[in-house]
């Protein structure tokens, strides 16, 4: 056979294979293309325009102006506050969340009874949807002396006066962070439990024979052996900080005066409150790229997680 006819048969074979598989994958492929891939591409294009939602054909191409507006232009103060809050959210929720999650995982791993019960109850906050827990947190941190948190803090003499939690930047941010920690602990715990169960008991027994104390075993065996899990948890929680949205939208909606805004909340309001679609798309591209880079980084280092 000459080269041409080989190409022809392999082309025919390919076409036949495609026809055979088409009934199974075509619908899904069309859906993903129209409602996910096309919008993702369109998002990037929209970020380069002054987008007109009523008459999309009247949108004006403005190049990187929307990006300049965020980084150095009119909106730079608000953008950097939103960016700063994402970073602060990470700094204040990740270390405590990881520490408490690890401690709980080690404890659950070490007790003999109620194992599943503890696991299920401590995982509950992760599963319950954001709107319900946000409403509960709004209730717990209500103003005045009847707010549950204020009531108990005053009872314990930590506070003299009730705090209006959501009226100033830092107390409002603190509530958002506490909320974030409370919601992430269960997930950290489950991942660490899986990691801990992968450590062979023999190693601990060998250490015991050598006379290692509990603390030594924890610091010299457990911590080093679960290091991959630690990195995995860490990078996922960093991605999670770039995704923080609901907590802020529900608890403070960015107030007082935008000082607790985070990137996604800022983006959403720019689009659907102020109708700055092009600019909001630029913010979503910046946020999306950050998340994408972190995800690629994670997947490169944690291939096993996909298998």
């Amino acid at each position: 056979m000459d080269k041409n006819s080989i190409e022809k048969t392999s082309f025919r074979k390919g076409a036949r294979q495609l026809i055979a598989v088409a009934p199974f994958i075509l619908i899904g492929f069309v859906f993903v293309c129209i409602f996910v891939i096309y919008p993702q591409i369109k998002n990037v294009w929209m970020s380069l325009t002054e987008y007109n939602i009523m008459q999309p054909s009247n949108s004006v191409f403005v190049g990187i102006q929307n990006y300049a507006k965020a980084f150095v232009g009119d909106e730079k103060d608000k953008f950097w506050i939103a960016f700063r809050n994402v970073i602060l959210y990470g700094v204040f929720t990740i270390p405590p969340g990881m520490l408490i999650g690890l401690i709980l995982a080690v404890l659950i791993n070490g007790v003999k009874k109620f194992n599943t019960f503890f696991r299920a109850i401590l995982y509950l906050p992760v599963l319950i949807d954001w709107i319900v827990v946000s409403i509960i947190f709004l209730y717990l941190f209500s103003d005045g002396k009847a707010g549950l948190v204020n009531y108990y803090l005053m009872k314990l003499n930590i506070l003299q006066q009730p705090i209006a939690w959501f009226s100033s930047t830092w107390t409002a941010n603190a509530v958002i962070w506490i909320f974030g920690i409370w919601k992430s602990i269960g997930w950290v715990m489950i991942i660490y439990l899986a990691g801990l169960q992968g450590i062979s008991k023999d190693i601990y027994e060998a250490a015991e024979i050598d006379g290692a104390t509990k603390t030594q075993k924890f610091l010299k065996i457990t911590i080093p052996l679960i290091r991959p899990t630690t990195y995995f948890v860490l990078i996922n929680l960093i991605i999670g900080s770039f995704n923080v949205f609901f907590a802020v939208y529900m608890l403070t909606s960015g107030g007082p005066i935008g000082t607790t805004d985070v990137l996604q909340n800022y983006m959403y309001n720019q689009a659907f409150k102020y109708m700055n679609f092009g600019y909001a798309c630029a913010i979503s591209v910046i946020t999306g790229l950050s998340i994408l880079l972190l995800t690629i980084f994670r997947d490169k280092f944690f291939k096993y997680e996909r298998n």
Binding site: F24, G28, V32, L127, M267, I291
Partner: protein, 276 residues
């Protein structure tokens, strides 16, 4: 002796955390059972002192929550059925067929999963608005189904690949086609994984907030989460009513959680079906 002391300390600590995790939920339930009122109860309640369903009656009768409940069930059911059907078909295609661009398309699916859905919302809005489907269920159904396919195809492909080939060969020898294999071998054997994924899709749609908030303007088409947010705005200080509505949203989630807990323990079938 020392060992036992250590065990008790561990239990004590764990129970403490269980209580910390549960206080918010307990206070939600207690508040929902309190008498209707316009300010916070003082002192605040963690445990209910009486059981009173007036807030629930009010939420269902006056605030139309039965309607929102039905809307939520409808949306979540339709999306789950469509996503499961389309994803399992696609997953079967990727697991058992060879075809050109297979790897490319599959990687494309993986890539779309890396960008969180919320960040596509604006462009999706412009797409749906271009199709004149804003404020319709058709619009959000298309979006939600489209958004669920890549991830579920990915997971199901993994399950399908573990189903032994011998089972399919027996069907082919008996003269059955690919569809026959799909309906009579693959789907029945993957029931546990389909069930678990189904519940996950369902609860994802059940708790969806931003898609419905962004695309649906008519109040009679709202779902529970969006209605709940609005109710909170209207009755800002009537916590009893708001909490009763929250409990109504939360109970189905709790039930789904309990079911998934059980299902996750069961391993997917397959190994037992072929005799070695």
């Amino acid at each position: 002796m020392k060992h036992r002391l250590g065990q008790s300390a561990k239990y004590l600590f764990l129970w403490l955390f269980v209580i910390i995790s549960l206080i918010p939920f307990l206070s939600m339930i207690s508040t929902s059972f309190s008498q209707a009122m316009y300010e916070l109860p003082y002192p605040p309640k963690i445990l209910p002192d009486s059981v009173n369903f007036s807030n629930y009656v009010k939420v269902i009768e006056e605030d139309n929550f039965l309607r929102y409940f039905v809307n939520s069930v409808f949306l979540a059911t339709v999306v789950t059925a469509c996503v499961l059907l389309i994803s399992s078909m696609s997953a079967y295609g990727f697991a058992r067929f060879d075809f050109p661009f297979k790897k490319l398309i599959f990687n494309l699916y993986l890539f779309t999963m890396m960008v969180p859905g919320v960040l596509n919302l604006i462009a999706q809005y412009s797409v749906i608005s271009g199709m004149h489907l804003v404020n319709t269920y058709t619009g959000i159904l298309l979006l939600m189904v489209g958004g669920g396919i890549a991830g579920n195809t990915f997971f199901l492909r993994g399950f399908f690949e573990n189903i032994p080939h011998e089972l399919e060969e027996s069907v082919i020898i008996d003269g059955g086609g690919r569809w026959c294999v799909f309906w009579h071998i693959i789907l029945p054997l993957s029931k546990p994984s389909l069930g678990t994924l189904g519940i996950m899709v369902f609860s994802g749609i059940w708790s969806d907030f931003f898609t419905v908030l962004t695309f649906i303007k008519d109040s009679d088409k709202w779902t529970l989460p969006v209605a709940l947010q609005l109710l909170r705005g209207e009755h800002a200080t009537e916590w009893g009513t708001v909490m009763a509505a929250s409990v109504l949203l939360f109970i189905p989630e709790l039930i789904m959680f309990i079911i998934v807990q059980k299902n996750l323990v069961q391993s997917a079938g397959g190994e037992g079906a072929v005799k070695g």
